[in-house]
Symmetry: D2
Subunit: 157 residues, 4 copies
């Protein structure tokens, strides 16, 4: 039996619409309710909204930061892990996840999706990315169902 906690990385733009903000918050909440560790890039936008959702639902939140100073983390991060490797930390946000949830975003988010696929992580698509290999989800409830199945598989492995 797996004793390690399951990590779910939420990736998405640092500048987002109110609609995506609500989506991100719901995704964070859902991750906390599933008992998983929430991981993100630690900064603003979708990362902050999702961390807020996870935190307010009682979850544990990790932020893998680009810089060397923990102060750059948003205020919902419990465990800030500065890397000092800049945007290359995206590769680690992707690799360190058991499951990735992709929200709308820009090139940075896209780089994380690609790395998730390169590293063989399941990537739930909540941002209409449509990359081959991603797992499309219609909404947060649909994403949750798919994540539950992935968690079951991980727990058996």
């Amino acid at each position: 039996m797996r004793k390690q906690m399951i990590t779910i990385s939420v990736i998405g733009g640092s500048r987002i619409s109110p609609k995506v903000e609500r989506l991100a918050q719901l995704v964070g909440q859902m991750i906390a309710q599933l008992g998983c560790v929430f991981v993100c890039g630690g900064l603003g936008g979708a990362m902050e909204a999702a961390a807020k959702g996870a935190k307010t639902a009682g979850g544990m939140t990790i932020g893998i930061l680009p810089g060397k100073d923990k102060k750059e983390a948003n205020s919902y991060i419990d465990i800030a892990l500065p890397t000092s490797i800049g945007y290359a930390r995206n590769t680690i946000v992707a690799c360190s996840a058991d499951i990735i949830v992709a929200l709308p975003g820009s090139f940075g988010t896209n780089s994380e999706i690609c790395y998730g696929l390169v590293y063989g992580r399941p990537v739930i698509d909540l941002g209409n990315w449509g990359h081959e290999g991603m797992i499309p989800a219609r909404n947060v409830v649909d994403a949750q169902e798919k994540i539950k199945k992935l968690i079951k598989k991980l727990q058996k492995a």
Copy 2:
């Protein structure tokens, strides 16, 4: 006046069709003829075909390798730079270029395009990627024209 040499990274799939192989070789040749340093990820497929093109046209070729052993480089690499950071070396293939030329490829290539855009590098699109921010090119001749203009700008900067 800029004294540093101009680096052009060619990115593309490690498994490619004969058609893309020919395209890659022409792109490598063109880079050498422009007097630029050819950079790539150092392995097979588009990287090897483009390096072959650059090498046979008398150019200098650099391979930024994922592993720690220079022997993993394809046989057209003059200067192999092993990094030991795995696929995360894609971020460096992108960042170390003055100009990036994107050929058809998969997630790895896409991650390099995204990093190129994140780092503000001009990315010539010879693979129908169509990402916002890329510079579309119809063919190698068209790419060459666009690269010549970028080089002029770089030389003045």
Copy 3:
């Protein structure tokens, strides 16, 4: 007031003597008792012994792994974060810590000490390293006193 949890990275050799193993375990235990998050490179030797100490004292343990597979983590790691960047992950073990505790080890441990000093992290010396800039500690009790003072400073910052 700081809300983030304090992270303490324990670094040390992957092949260690029984004496260092006991030392590592005590250090891990002490970190858990101080209410800090335990961080390490996630593998064997000092990392495993310290993680065991932290875990048995009820602490939370994070392993920043070199590879891409969570299975390479030792069995006392709660949250495994695979990085896929090989030994370069040492730079992140160092950077992500508020405080570093250095046990006896080899080149890998030494690289982490150097990175800790480069990034300006306080590095407690429990391995007779003697690098300028480290904070020497005679034993675990002495290390604990010094860590308590560092924690107070961090909580005010």
Copy 4:
């Protein structure tokens, strides 16, 4: 027969004495005269003095930069390779070398020595570092003799 060029990384402090500056310049010169590619971290101090030596002796110089802008390179670098990964680029300066020459320096230099040893690179000690596993050299002439032997071995491999 090996066709790749041999890369020699020179590592040393960014703030150095006039004596170390002269030493660095001689080392750079020697590397160029041996027909090897000179590699360094691309910035000032020992990196700049050694690059100057290599350049004035007609060698080719590569600078693996911490930032994303080629302008941060010293003026003796032919091929600037920005990495955007900050000091973690030290791991790549070490890994990408066939042979490393260590001059006097501080923590950054020490991290590169450690990584050189971790990755199994021969590390010539011209800075009284005295780490186990390094190859001590009394002066530049002695270093040159040792490098010539290493080159012969590399050319046969």
